[in-house]
Symmetry: C2
């Protein structure tokens, strides 16, 4: 049983990853980043699973990213783009270098917990939107991580070439409760069902022939793209 | 005149680097990290030079590193090791993965300021103490940085193969005021002259045939190793 660090946002990909890592017999130390995103519900979802599954869950404030960058994801006065993920509308939700920063801090935790790896849930759909979700970026960070301490630490992104539907199928076999995962970019009581993030989630459930247990403000979870 | 980010701690290496980068015609955006280290005086030194030289100086709180790790550098209840830099005594002053974290955040600033590079002052003497000052680590981070955004950002560590004495010689030609740089690991009124960091600094001045303008508690700045 080896110690590992898992970055869990509370979204469907990283929550599935946590269950997946545990099912493989690892002992996870979970780290969640709070960068004042509107969806604090995502963090509540991360807490929900961690309280059930792991002894130590660290929530790290990354408000500093606000000082370093502009982004509608963390600044309440900018509108969230609607529709599918496409440039340039999605660009407004990109926090610069978020993944490198999160992986670096997770690696610090890996050093102090003597963990052999850091897991994160980047998936194939992210590649075209986020430069720091590309396989070549993950590979480069893995090389840097193996050198940042005297002991080698690996970066593992097992969903890098999978779609969100593939991830859901894995989660199904692990009985992940997707009602306790949060995806919507808007910080409202119910998920909006309309933002790029909600639509991508609903589409993944549809492709995986699964029903999204989350309630939505608008539309159904079966035909999200017809509304 | 190209925009660049420079990581300036307020120590002699990074302050020299700032003057060096400016002398090369770059427009620096300076970032300084406050990780509750005992030597807040180092940050004051960074401020001193930035107020004179650059329009924007960002001081970023990295107290989060305290949560992620144990280190005598940031925890006031642990003693600071004395003597020269040697393992294992210096290990107590290592904040895990500090450089990767700082470089990642500096890179976020580089993205938002459209800077072409991040400069940091790692030097040859650091290699044997800090795994994340090794040339191969710098190279790996440079590769990752060129991939973390759609625009390429370089990591530049021009002192990587130089000694501290070499750096002082550069600083001399640039008229750097080393009285406004801080090196001591202890957070006292005067530099102690005895900790590994002070001794390394004093030795560098001696090798460069320069006089350290800083006042010290103990000994002289000429014969620090005979005390």
């Amino acid at each position: 049983m080896s110690d590992v660090v898992v970055i869990v946002s509370g979204g469907m990909d990283s929550v599935t990853l946590l269950y997946d890592v545990i099912s493989q017999g690892h002992k996870p130390h979970v780290i969640t980043f709070n960068y004042n995103q509107r969806h604090q519900k995502e963090i509540q979802c991360a807490k929900y699973h961690c309280e059930k599954l792991v002894p130590d869950h660290l929530i790290v404030n990354l408000g500093v990213l606000n000082e370093l960058a502009e982004s509608s994801l963390t600044r309440p006065n900018l509108p969230v783009p609607e529709g599918n993920y496409d440039e340039p509308s999605m660009k407004a939700t990109v926090v610069p270098n978020r993944n490198m920063v999160m992986i670096s801090l997770a690696t610090a935790l890996a050093i102090s917990t003597k963990s052999e790896a850091v897991y994160y849930g980047a998936h194939a759909g992210d590649h075209t939107i986020y430069p720091d979700c590309r396989p070549e970026f993950v590979k480069a960070m893995d090389v840097a991580m193996k050198l940042c301490d005297w002991r080698r630490i690996e970066l593992r992104a097992p969903y890098l070439r999978m779609t969100k539907a593939d991830i859901l199928r894995i989660g199904k076999t692990l009985n992940v409760d997707y009602n306790q995962t949060w995806t919507c970019y808007k910080g409202e009581q119910l998920s909006c069902g309309q933002c790029g993030s909600c639509r991508e989630r609903l589409e993944a459930f549809e492709i995986a022939s699964m029903t999204d247990p989350l309630p939505y403000q608008v539309g159904t979870n079966r035909k999200p793209l017809e509304g």
